[in-house]
Symmetry: D2
Subunit: 355 residues, 4 copies
């Protein structure tokens, strides 16, 4: 119940602090007898890791995943895949200044009060480093889904107030064309300039990630509490810095009437529009699944702010070390990983709906 | 795994179709030895039921909850509370026209393909009638939370494009002052006029519900996948017609810089601002929890639309029977119920964090 | 976590006290589109109910199950099956003498200390009446399993020290030939005489139930913690009055050497012997599953014993009302029900082992 | 649902094959702010490891646990404890002869059919090596339980037909006095001689482990499906080679009448006898918890037996490598570990029973 696991049939459990020996996890319920491409998994991790471009933090963690079990002769055995990622580039001294301080809008204060004891080095368990483990499991799920025709298009659609005004399925090469992972070249240029500007200010900025998933079979999702979009929402909101989630028309549905918003059927079972975002009654209808995730500006800024220390005094605090001014580009593989885990989990659940 | 349960320690499981004999459920993990006010529970159900006002559907279902177990001499025994609500006002004939038709943006199509068989009467399991059971469980949770100082303020903050532009903790009497459950009297008047207009058109309209929760102890929520706002998000997105969820600053955080968005501490451990929405690192920090939920315009409209039937033909379809042009006023107790269940569940989980 | 649910994919949750309004439950994860024989379900309940024969308690509860949801036009819809069984023959006054007394080897003392409040009438939630709900769910599971070729043979193999010395698959008619449900006619006669004797003494006696299941596909069960026999063991040990469980050779394996105990293969994949009880490494191997369950003599006896009351005084106590001197005959359908739920659950789980 | 996790609040998840890179696991729900004695944990592992004495397999695996997370400055942080144990002494060539062969009464056949692919080296996931991870988690649980006064006495009470005829709480030093871990010196001598004899024959022998737990608070266990002894039974039956479980009087209750078997109360709330084994109605009553576990003779024998290969041929097969003639001495810490996990889990659950 301590919440370090995600999924029901395909289940990831993770452990690890950002400055401990290693982070890692295990995936239980991995379908057996599937040939895994381990290089593709590492490639996903590389998309998430710090130091890929000038846009992101200059830390150059290798984030090399080591698989310890569950794979034999290149194929899954059906037993748990255990894995670790060593924390090779750990400089705990970087974080000594955090020992007695509660940084604003970080988890220092809440962890201290919840547990009575915390690993303050680099955020410990609250560090977004934990999401590397999600990327590993998501990459496994994605390979399996691709083998049954499911495809993902996940990209940065907004940075600050610079926003794309369409949402389409873009190819991976279009997305990867720029380090900001926005497939609209013109917007990408603006976004990069904006991030650079914010970085110069020692500040940070948020944005939105758009995810579109095609080829999802009809019937995934459960009707009441475990609606497909409810689970997608939880998956996304569990990612560090996420403040909002919307499926299909989302908040923009508030400006529409029912007669406009209804997705009228075509004779082939598809719908003319897709305001539903591919999900009706909590269950996939075969249309593209489409959702959007809002990331706040990250809390660590290179400006001095007053904050509270553990003795109850107000003290000046300024971030140091290596931090992203905008995490959105690195958030893309994390969003996609969580989405893949959710879809595969419901795919497996759906196999049990009839005898 | 079929998703008819919600919660981990305080767990609601529900059953029932809108036109079967009854809907009902059971709550497992109810803290023992607590004096329940059964009248207050029924009162919450009355806030959700159809036919309360001219704004909502003219059906006058009684929605009388009958408790079957788990309460003895007025107090919870710690064993499951089983309950049913009879479907007294069932006119299945109202729904014969639905037998062969897949209504647009309803769950008819997806249920048929998922299960190979469905109860087409009134939406069956996909009917929002199921949420009555959530209100029962939420009312139990709310009483327990109130006994430890937690208070809820849940109201309609937007109907169509008519939106309040502040969010505050309003009292129940302010909220209940109008049938639309918007505590801003001027906005409420506009909203009611708008709903009436939409109703005349045979159309429907969506809106947003704001929920603010005070008195939540520091430390609720789990750090990684089961972040408090992730679970709140899932809870809300599992409610029929919900398309979006945001916590604290939500999507509006995209227009802010980190230096602006950070909630700077006061010496007393509170924060000057509350863009975090009372949750940092997935864990409550003692500030008010504050989130917003988007409801699309409901799919049933009293206008003729073309749709698909089970033989693959396009046929004209027009809603009939008793439906809400705007479900927002009735959504208020449902949102509050789900929120109460989530908070109580995490409260119980937190009791196990230290030995 | 309060433990009122059983199963993972095919999941029964139950509620109800023996002297409340009703007991009941819901089954989630019921495979859809399956034609259920409701009369056969009621028939299983009739096998469990009190007052079937002179051997068992003279209470003649009807134990009529009412289905409230999840079945439409005779077929399962895939949504939860909710059901209740009214407590029609409740005479709470029968139990007033229990209000202040902790009966020996009953749950009165432990419930009082665990919950701080209890429904003392007839044992409340600790009454074996709860098992009626298990029989309902088990009967559903059994029908589904029968459709794929799984067959059950469950019978009384021992009463007191009167024990059959073989274990075979007996037909239902052989088992039901006598009220004691022992398929060996000579043993059955001795058992019935012994139970009658014990009843005259106002005492009680235990015994053993043997269960043999054929047609179980190879591959059911999970390798580590959720071994098939581990889950069967939990299922059986969760039945009131059960004190022991053994699979295959069980405790008698202690007298054997490995070279004798090994089940040597035949060329067809079957084994010459079946000391493994149809399960190797926690996973079914296609041989009959075979286990034995020990029931202690029930605690209620019609003799005076000293016991403790809630004020800490020792007081004389004598059982009254309607009780079985030997519950074994009625335990047969309960054991079979739990076994069927376990097997079906693992059958569904196994559908997700490969993509 | 693949069953690699155990527990609800205090939850162990394990991964790893006997001849992969490492085995390992993570414990979620570890109570925070507790000072762990890491040396004591390693000591428990040493009690389980092969090669401790001439009685057990000559393999001298070091079984050194490495903790990767969840412990900071000597104290638990409340976040998951991840750990690995490297497979240092792996000689996979030892197992090449197993590639195409289904050993009798092993999991080779069932794994192959369940998964379609298996790691045949040394039993892979079905190897008892997996239990080392249980010992780690159990040692953590035991330390926490000891801090609240719970004590364990776990020992070998039977080897083959050589059985102690009493059951008492023995001290650790009495148990560890001989390598066979039977606290009755005279019995221990006979057992060791018998094991030696069996080993000379190239055969194997089973036995029983007795576990007695004192200081368990009243109220642990849940009333219906998750009875304390049901969960203990599952925990024990999930250990490799276990064929039977009994609580308190167990199978011997079949020879008793209710009037004899009832545990009559004393004025202090204790009972004169303890046939219930410390559990009534599934809930601990404060008396010692007492159960017995039957281990079959292990399947690997150094004698030639005919068996099946994957091509469907019968072939001669003889075990080789390093195996225990009797696993009972090494089973002691495993039984104790599983028991400790169960008790701590229910202890945490009980903290949520009242508000």
């Amino acid at each position: 119940m301590a919440g370090s696991s995600y999924g029901t049939l395909f289940k990831l459990s993770t452990f690890g602090e950002s400055h401990g020996e290693a982070i890692g996890g295990m995936i239980d319920g991995v379908p057996a007898n599937f040939s895994l491409d381990l290089i593709a998994i590492q490639h996903e991790l590389d998309r998430r890791r710090p130091g890929q471009s000038e846009l992101t933090t200059p830390r150059s963690e290798l984030d090399q995943v080591q698989f310890l079990s569950g794979i034999f002769e290149g194929k899954t055995t059906g037993t748990p895949i255990g894995f670790i990622i060593l924390n090779t580039n750990v400089k705990s001294a970087d974080y000594d200044h955090l020992k007695e301080v509660f940084r604003p809008s970080h988890a220092d204060f809440t962890y201290q009060h919840k547990y009575g004891h915390r690993d303050y080095r680099g955020g410990g368990r609250s560090s977004a480093r934990e999401t590397a483990c999600r990327v590993v499991a998501g990459a496994v799920a994605k390979q399996m889904l691709q083998s049954i025709g499911v495809q993902f298009s996940t990209y940065v659609s907004q940075v600050g107030m610079i926003a794309m005004n369409n949402k389409e399925f873009y190819s991976l090469s279009e997305i990867e064309a720029t380090p900001v992972r926005c497939p609209d070249a013109s917007m990408a240029t603006q976004m990069m300039a904006h991030i650079d500007e914010i970085k110069q200010e020692g500040d940070s900025i948020g944005g939105a990630v758009q995810c579109i998933i095609t080829g999802v079979p009809v019937g995934l999702g459960e009707p009441v509490f475990d609606k497909l979009h409810a689970e997608l929402g939880k998956a996304m909101l569990s990612i560090n810095a996420v403040k909002g989630f919307e499926i299909g028309s989302g908040f923009s549905s508030l400006g529409m009437k029912g007669s406009e918003h209804n997705d009228v059927f075509l004779a082939n079972g598809q719908t003319k529009t897709n305001f539903s975002g591919g999900i009706q009654g909590g269950i996939s209808n075969g249309m593209p699944i489409d959702f959007r995730v809002a990331f706040k500006p990250v809390a660590t800024v290179m400006q001095t702010q007053e904050t509270l220390d553990s003795s109850g005094n107000m003290v000046p605090f300024k971030g140091k070390g290596r931090h992203d001014a905008c995490v959105l580009p690195r958030a893309v593989p994390i969003v996609e990983a969580m989405a893949a885990m959710v879809i595969l989990d419901f795919y497996l659940r759906q196999k049990t709906t009839q005898l």
